[in-house]
Each structure stands twice: as C-alpha cells, then as structure tokens.
Symmetry: none
Subunit: 138 residues, 4 copies
C-alpha cells in the first residue's frame, strides 16, 4: 500500500495522509479515475481512527484531488495529476522561501546554501540507489 503514517511525528496524521496522497497522485502511483481505499480500510490498515482518514479525504476533496460518492466510494479526480503537482510545487516553493529567509539572517551565502542543497540531494539519491524501495509497512 502506498500510504504510511508516523503517529509520533509532530505533523498531524491527517496532514501526513494528505501529503502522501498528493505525492502518490503526482508521482503516478495512483491514476485519475481509480478508487482509493475506503476510509474504513485505510483507517484499520494504518491503525488510526476512521474520522482522521475521513478528514484527510474531505480536505483533499475540497482541494479538487478526490471526489467521493456516497455508497460507492472515493475516487481520484480526472484532473488530479495537474492539481497535485501544482499543489506540491507550491508547497516546495513555500518551504524554500522560509529556508532562504533563515539562511539570509544567518548570513549563509547564496553559494554556500546551494552547496548544502546539492549535498543533501546527492546523499538522497545515493540512498535511493542502494535501497530503491522503501516500504513503511511494519
């Protein structure tokens, strides 16, 4: 399954679900029109409460990523891919803005920061090479 959550994280569970769902769609792991797990199924699988999943789904709906029909289930919207990519990119940019602000006040120079980013990304891709499939299943 493409979703996993960390109950110890400080980011709320429903936000974790939203983020992962957006990524799953943006990366093509789930495709427009497909059905996503029922709230009950996902809740029991993640061992969290039904309402928490329902909230995540509900907010993804008002974001336009999902559509659900009573009695039949919840589905990925036809234009979900574009929405999720736009949304995710927006969030990356926002995070970058915040980083730039802190970096500036720390008088970290432009080039130093770029070097840091490169370093982090390279480290990541190496990890991905040795361990191509991370699965949060327990």
């Amino acid at each position: 399954m493409y979703i996993s959550v960390d109950p110890k994280s400080s980011t709320p569970l429903y936000v974790q679900i939203k983020e992962q769902m957006r990524l799953a769609v943006a990366s093509g792991a789930i495709k427009p029109g497909e059905q996503v797990p029922t709230v009950r199924d996902l809740a029991t699988q993640l061992r969290i409460n039904l309402n928490t999943v329902a909230r995540a789904y509900r907010e993804l709906q008002s974001e336009g990523l999902l559509t659900s029909r009573q009695g039949s289930g919840t589905f990925v919207s036809p234009d979900a891919k574009a929405i999720s990519q736009a949304e995710s990119r927006r969030m990356v940019k926002q995070m970058l803005d915040r980083i730039a602000a802190t970096a500036r006040s720390l008088q970290i120079e432009r080039d130093e920061l770029l070097a840091l980013v490169a370093e982090v990304m390279d480290k990541m891709s190496q990890q991905a090479d040795t361990n191509p499939e991370v699965n949060g299943d327990e």
Copy 2:
C-alpha cells in the same frame, strides 16, 4: 530594541522570540556577556503574556544560549555565538532534508531544484536591498 514579534503570524510567539534572539546573537547585535531584558520588561514592551517570554527564555537557556544568575538577571552565554550558529545551521539542514525528500518524490531534478533555490535567494536579496527591514513572516 532588537526584538519584535508579529501576533498575527502563524508561528508561535515564543518561537518568534527565540528566533530573533538567536539571530541577534549570530549577527552580533548583542554580545556574549551582555544582559538581556528581564522577562517582565520584554513582556510589557512586546505587549504579550509574561509566560510566553518566560518560555522562550527557558528554552534558550536549555539550549545554552542564555544563562541566568540568581537575583541579577539573564545574560548571553560566553559561547553563545557558536551555539546559535550551530543551532541555526542544524535547523536549515533539517529543513533541506525535508525539501529534498518531497522534491525527489515529485521527480524534480537536482538541477531544477538548485535553480529554484538560487531564484528564491536572489529575489530575497533584491528585496533586502530596496527594503532593508523586512519581517518575512506570513
């Protein structure tokens, strides 16, 4: 005074105080050994609750940036500058890690991300030139 807060910001007041205090030390605006305002003074000056300031000071103490001497007040630690810089750099790295992770799953390439970072930083420094006093918060 070297501290100001924005009550409308989404970042908690006590975090804003901590950040500005670290920044003031890192940038040299306030030097090791100097005394910082009393909790009471800073609270009335910023028109916020006394407990909020107390919490910020308390956490900065356990971080090693501040030290309080019974009866005489709170002072900047001798090695505060190193501490604040190390702490801030640690935070930047952590944020970068998270960004890199999302970027990767969005299949944003290394170079594309670097370009984004450069863009954001350049925009920032331009703003700083025209408008030297900016509070980039929300």
Copy 3:
C-alpha cells in the same frame, strides 16, 4: 427511453430518477395508465443498483404518481399529471422561500433579486434553444 442518470452528479441517483419520472409525466412524455419499465429492466438499462431504482419507485408510489398491480407491473396513476405538477410546484415554492430568506438577510433588494431571477431564466432558455438536450446537473 425517457430516463437517464448521471452517476457523477452530487444529487443521489434515486432522486434523479424521481425527478425525471415526474418530469416525464408533467411534460406528457408518458401518459396516465401507461406502464413504466420494471425495476429490474430500468436498473440494468441505467447500469445502477436494483435497490436504487426500487427506492425511487417506492417513493413515487407513496407520492401517488405510480401504482403497482400485483403481478402485472407498475403503472402511471390516472391523476399523475396533476400530482406531479402540484408536487413540483410545492418544491419550487419551498426553494424560493429559502432563497428569499438569504437574500433578505444579505440586504438584496426585492427588485435586484427579481432581476437576478430574470437573468438566470433568460440565460437558461437561450442555452435550451441552441442545445435542446441539457442535463443541468453538477
């Protein structure tokens, strides 16, 4: 066939069936005394669940629009036309009441609201001229 449904619409399927059935009678497309499709037939034709059609029929019966005779099928009531018109008019009035209430509290004037209604209706009839078959749902 005089019935069609849109599974993507937010209005429940059984409501869509009821509305279209009432409309078919009100407009004369189907006449008192005629037989309507069996529950099973309509369900397979519309590719929806049998229970959904059954519910629509059941409620239309208790409304007096349809009557079923044991073993021979379901038929349009003799006085169906009057019933469907009365029922529909009742619903329009009810909706108008709610609109008027909100409009009033928004301090939308009587004449302004009338203008809005006229505008909407004119737009509709134009659309109907160019594209006679429209399902205005969702």
Copy 4:
C-alpha cells in the same frame, strides 16, 4: 447571540453555523477584527458538541472569513465582509440556477416564476415588519 441552529434540520449543523456566520458578517452584525465566541462557548450555548463548532470555524477559516490563533481565540478577518458577501451572493445565484432548471422543466413561464418570487419576498417583508426581530433563543 447571533447564532442559532435547528438540530432537526436535514442540513448539517456545521453548515448551519457556517451560513449564519457568513450572514452575520455580511449584514454587519459582526465586524472585521472582532472576536467570535470561543468554540467551547458557542458549543455549550447551542447545546451541541465542541467538534461540530470547531469544524464550522475551521472551514470558515480556509474560506478566509475567520482567522484563529491558538491560545487567544478566533477573530473575523480584516477583509471578511467582502468575502462573505461574495460567497453568499455566489450561493444565491447557485440556488437560483437550480430553481430555474426545475421551473423550466415544469414549463413554468418566466413571468409566472417572477410573480412567485415577488409574492414570496413580499410575504417575507410583511412578516419582518410585524415581527422585526426574530431571536432563536429558547
């Protein structure tokens, strides 16, 4: 107090709260910058659950009408009036669209519908004259 709900209504409680809050702002009963009742207060006053109020507030927040700060309360946004009026008008138009559709399929003529609207609105304003202040308080 400016809010009341009907637990028997088919429209969800949290939607009723949202609607009334929007109207309260649109009509000027609450002004930008003012604090709205705390979730706990409104919940006990309406004799409904805290979570239900919280949900209404949360959604009004993402709509831009309210802003809340942990620890200090929930407030009406500076530009709330424009938002609520736009939102309310949008909803009135949407309702009118639906009415027009039903009216058309019932072959209710343009002028007949306008007459109905006028009738309903006039009835309303008369009621308002004789009983200028309706208060849902029990």
